[in-house]
Symmetry: C2
Subunit: 493 residues, 2 copies
């Protein structure tokens, strides 16, 4: 689809009398639909984009007029707080995504980062610029696939109308401040900006835009209401239609490549070598972290692995000599009820490291394709979709310059049993052994298949998996430290 703004008529009008009658009906209709949306727990994300002075504020005011103010949030996303702008750019927007049954209205959006001033303000890195449209489309697709209704409006006005509005705002002492240099540049270079917007709209149209002729604000308001009502009705139909409930029954692929089976778990290390290397590598990593901070490079380390594989001890050795102000360990357990009301990646967006920091995830978003898959907490189509979603998210981080490590901490079944038994009798370690551990153990085969498929499908160039042989914990710790320090040294030099 190629959208060409210049071919669209901005000047469509409506009689006041006709407008009043239609608006009354539409407002009532929307208010009724809002109740339905709440009942069906559909999250709705509405984006308002457009020319400066195209009337985004007015359009939002008109739209919320008939809504219950307890059910929506308006986010002004033109400027983004510095605390957000030193992370990958989608973080700030993802954090405000609506939860089930709520409506989030974005006054300006991630799309405008594609404009020249947006790229400048966000200081996009080359890889981020290159990946921009892919990342945006992937992000919107994820939310839509999760059931979020996304409705995107672009308010379109002509060059003359924009000029007229600027003049009017400038005449008035009270509104004068609202016109800044950037706005005037837009009007002066209307033709060039038409091209910028055309590109923005065309490239991000997988989740389609609604272009609203906005020279007449009343006409625009009606069109927005009608579009919204039609979209919500369609979403309600698809949510409640019986087809939706039937999960496609697809046979689980048998992964030929049995990655875990080929792992050599007999690797060991002598105590002497361990102590020597540990000290050397810990101190090296500590220095690398200061360098990371100075270079504003951030690092994400994901730990996944069998119960009792030694993740905790491994993380402890990795962090022991680091400045505690520079890293954070995020333990991931069952999602909270608020987290369950959002797409499953929502809870991770906010926990990503700021530039220059290190974040270690003790279990992670891979829960979607491991425990949630095996235990049936996610439907088959949900976890199958997740491989691509996760790859997209990690690519987005990598484009921002985040260095990503993913470790599968591996032991075999008999080693696990030995460790469980020793936990049973060791007073200090009893708290570590739960009924869940034994239940998970019974499903060893299912988990093994899930791990193999996970590694196969998410082992990307920008975020590769490394298997840490951990039958010997000391060997595992040294290997992890070696990989992190070597890779960081390469990246930071």
């Amino acid at each position: 689809v190629i959208l060409l703004l210049e071919k669209l008529d901005t000047n469509r009008t409506i009689e006041t009398k006709e407008y009043n009658a239609a608006m009354k009906r539409l407002q009532r209709e929307l208010a009724a639909l809002q109740l339905k949306v709440k009942e069906l727990e559909i999250p709705i994300l509405i984006v308002f984009e457009g020319w400066s002075a195209a009337g985004k504020g007015t359009a939002i005011s008109r739209l919320v007029y008939s809504l219950d103010p307890r059910d929506f949030n308006v986010y002004t996303m033109g400027k983004v707080a510095p605390s957000c702008s030193n992370r990958p750019f989608l973080c700030a927007y993802a954090a405000n995504a609506p939860s089930k049954g709520r409506m989030a209205i974005y006054d300006k959006s991630w799309h405008r980062i594609s404009l020249p001033e947006g790229q400048k303000a966000w200081k996009l890195k080359p890889a981020e610029k290159k990946g921009f449209y892919h990342d945006v489309n992937a992000f919107e697709k994820q939310l839509a696939d999760d059931g979020t209704l996304i409705i995107k409006f672009f308010l379109h006005i002509s060059k003359d109308e924009q000029k007229r509005r600027f003049d009017e705002l400038e005449k008035n002492e009270a509104t004068k401040w609202r016109i800044v240099e950037r706005d005037k540049i837009q009007n002066k270079n209307y033709g060039k900006y038409t091209k910028y917007f055309d590109r923005m709209l065309t490239q991000t149209n997988e989740c389609p835009w609604h272009i609203v002729a906005a020279d007449d604000s009343k006409f625009a308001a009606l069109m927005i209401y009608e579009t919204l009502i039609a979209e919500i009705n369609a979403a309600i139909t698809s949510t409640t239609s019986p087809d939706k409930q039937i999960e496609m029954a697809r046979p689980t692929e048998t992964t030929q490549n049995s990655i875990l089976k080929n792992v050599d778990l007999d690797k060991t290390i002598s105590n002497e070598e361990y102590n020597k290397k540990l000290q050397f590598l810990q101190s090296k990593l500590s220095n690398l972290c200061y360098k990371m901070y100075a270079k504003r490079t951030s690092v994400v380390i994901v730990y996944e692995g069998w119960d009792a594989a030694g993740k905790g001890g491994n993380i402890k050795r990795l962090t022991q000599e680091l400045d505690p102000r520079g890293y954070e360990v995020v333990p991931i357990s069952a999602p909270t009820d608020e987290e369950l009301r959002h797409q499953y990646l929502w809870r991770f967006w906010n926990k990503l490291p700021k530039d220059g920091h290190l974040t270690i995830f003790d279990r992670s978003w891979y829960g979607r394709v491991l425990v949630e898959r095996v235990e049936g907490f996610a439907t088959e189509s949900e976890w199958r979709r997740a491989y691509q979603e996760i790859n997209d998210m990690e690519l987005h981080l990598a484009n921002h310059g985040v260095v990503i490590f993913k470790f599968w901490v591996h032991i075999d079944k008999s080693e696990q049993l030995a460790r469980f038994e020793s936990r049973k009798v060791n007073e200090w370690k009893q708290h570590k052994l739960t009924d869940d551990d034994w239940r998970n153990r019974d499903k060893w085969g299912d988990y093994e298949a899930a791990v193999n498929e996970m590694i196969n499908k998410t082992n990307t160039a920008h975020a590769p998996w490394v298997i840490i042989e951990s039958n010997n914990k000391k060997y595992a710790r040294i290997k992890t430290l070696e990989i992190v320090t070597e890779q960081l040294e390469r990246m930071l030099s």
Copy 2:
């Protein structure tokens, strides 16, 4: 208690051999205690304050060495993000308070806002300066009363030692950047700063400070470990001692002053007057909100009231003409599981308006002394304590210049019944009527007593209650709008 730093010896030392032996024992002890703390779900908040270059970073590194990195967070609170600094100053700190069983370590804290540079950086208002120590002590008391173990360390070094460390840091190219002008000023004016710190420590000593002689970092580390272990042991004892479990049985006060009984609910308004006033007041409030924004004044409006009293419709009329980018409505329902793991005011700190914004709470922190009291979700000592806690929090907001409105939307019991019945038969309103509503109705008398006591005890000069007679909803809406517009007009002129 008057703390006088100059009388304290900063120069206490320990032999390396002795240190190593003691440290090994203490680290093991602390690691064991951490498991216990997690099991007992005790939240621990540790504050590190002190002179520049006193070794706060080193002390924190040593401290966390033996801890499981999944169970603590370190917050560097020297600089605060702009998104936090345009709210009352405690917001930023309260947001990071530890949840049950977790440990939050603050590298620098709210206390240093009392220093000259802190007051400047935070742009404290006169009332905030005046109320500073009271607010800090009240905040710490609230957390402590809720079961948080707060441990505050002040690292104390001599003038000469500080000078020596600055020189050493400056000599090294890699650490030179860490010394800024502010640090040097501190050393030059060591005597003056001793007085600043003395005042800070003395005035905030209700939750007591531990002053650590830190010329010798090893001696300091030992003292920190020993203090921490002693404090945690004491907290464990008091948590598990049977005395703790016995709730003091105190008779509920019978409030003489039956505030609600004296409300005249027969007030009405004609449709004509309603329509005229509504339009006038809504447009007036809309203009006042722009003025609020320009003056960076923020407003909090709390709605409490009986089920079916008309809160929703009232809020809708109040917000209908406002720019949706300037206000937010926060509906408060049962706390999420994450919220339940914190002190009950935690979830509100983050939702307070930024300077220049309006936030409307549809139900609020008063749930503590209403539904939680009546339904027994809070113990008697918890809800009795809450009156003072709430007054303290509201005072903190008022000191920052936040304008606070608190409305009790009132109807009588027969009016409520009529509204319930009409909801039952009205298809559009059926969703509004739940079993809870009927159950609450059965407890009308209990709620009435709770409301009377609440209004009596939290009707302060800085945040007064207003009863909105709402048997006639239109009358109620106009009254609310009138009060808000009149008061705001006064405050903003």
